[in-house]
């Protein structure tokens, strides 16, 4: 199958099943990377960071980025259009029966089960991304891991404060980039 068709198919499936917003596409992207070898875990983390730091919905940014990494400009366009296609169809249908859909018991029950599952799926991917962000194949588990670990903890703890939570991701990334350069991570 041509790479464009494959991209379109994979992103169509992602758009159809990624429930709960942009972050919910991450498990699907991780699967694509593993299945087809289009990009590494490390590249995926780079793409997530850039998607968070640039304007626009994060899920769309990631689709464009993954598509571009896999198959150039056309790939970026195709992945994005394939991702939004199911949304457009579903929402146009739902818009007709708006209130019935929202008050439907079965729909609500299904989402009651799906929400924790999606959180767990993303958690699994994130555990893998963290492993990759820390692991260096040439040095393995050494003292070199201490600076990244401290950086991670500092940002994570700071994010627990409500006021700091509102800080734009760009600033976290800028600070972390400086730390990365200074500490030669």
């Amino acid at each position: 199958m041509s790479i464009y068709l494959l991209l379109a198919w994979e992103f169509f499936k992602t758009g159809l099943f990624a429930i709960g917003g942009g972050a919910a596409t991450i498990p699907f992207l991780s699967e694509m990377g593993g299945k087809y070898g289009w990009f590494s875990q490390e590249e995926l983390t780079n793409m997530i960071a850039i998607s968070e730091a640039t304007p626009g919905p994060m899920g769309i940014n990631m689709a464009t980025y993954v598509g571009y990494t896999t198959a150039g400009f056309a790939g970026g366009l195709i992945a994005t259009l394939a991702l939004i296609f199911p949304s457009i169809v579903i929402i146009c249908l739902v818009a007709k029966f708006l209130t019935q859909f929202r008050d439907n018991k079965i729909v609500n029950d299904a989402f009651y089960g799906i929400r924790p599952a999606v959180a767990a799926l993303i958690a699994t991917v994130v555990i893998g991304l963290i492993q990759d962000a820390f692991y260096k194949p040439d040095t393995g588990l050494t003292a070199a891991l201490i600076p990244p670990a401290i950086l991670f903890l500092v940002i994570f703890v700071m994010l627990q404060f409500k006021k700091l939570k509102k800080i734009h991701p760009v600033f976290w990334f800028a600070g972390a980039a400086v730390a990365g350069i200074v500490l030669k991570m």
């Binding site: 099943f17 596409t25 949304s87 989402f111 929400r115 767990a120 799926l121 699994t124 991701p169 990365g180």
Partner: protein, 182 residues
Amino acid sequence: MKILLKLFLSFARIGGLTFGGGLAMLPMLKYELCEKHGWVTEDEIIDYYAIGQCTPGIIAVNCATFVGYKKKGIIGGVVATLGIVTPSVIIILLIASVLNIFMGNAILLHALAGIRIAACALITATVISLAKKGITDILCGIIFAAVLVISFFFDVPSIAIIAASGIVGIVAGIIKRRRKKA
């Protein structure tokens, strides 16, 4: 025709000027759609969000399709949605192609290593807040733990897990209502 252009431009502005998507877009949506154009009420936007959250796809995209559909039917939905994604596509393609050129640069690689750590910390915080919102009782906790273990140790497609947990939710709902009746 004029309304289609307005829809496109409004949503392109929303897409180009907000970061993060999802809830972060709410203030901008309110400003553009309620205050500036009066296309929808604030209550309607909240409704779209609620539905956008429990339909597949990106929430901001779903919201754009809703508003566009309301104003101009299916074409309106398509145009508004294309509007919200256009800035993303342009910006990301620019950044991605520039980054590719400098990818061998040692300083950039160190910077990206630091940025990846920050990205991990940020997504970890996101996952925790998603889990807090999604886990409302013991059964949700069990689903979360079970999916975490299954997806960590076995290679099960996400689609299968999402479908299965939806079915668990539906069955649990039926059992709960039966108990209430009895």
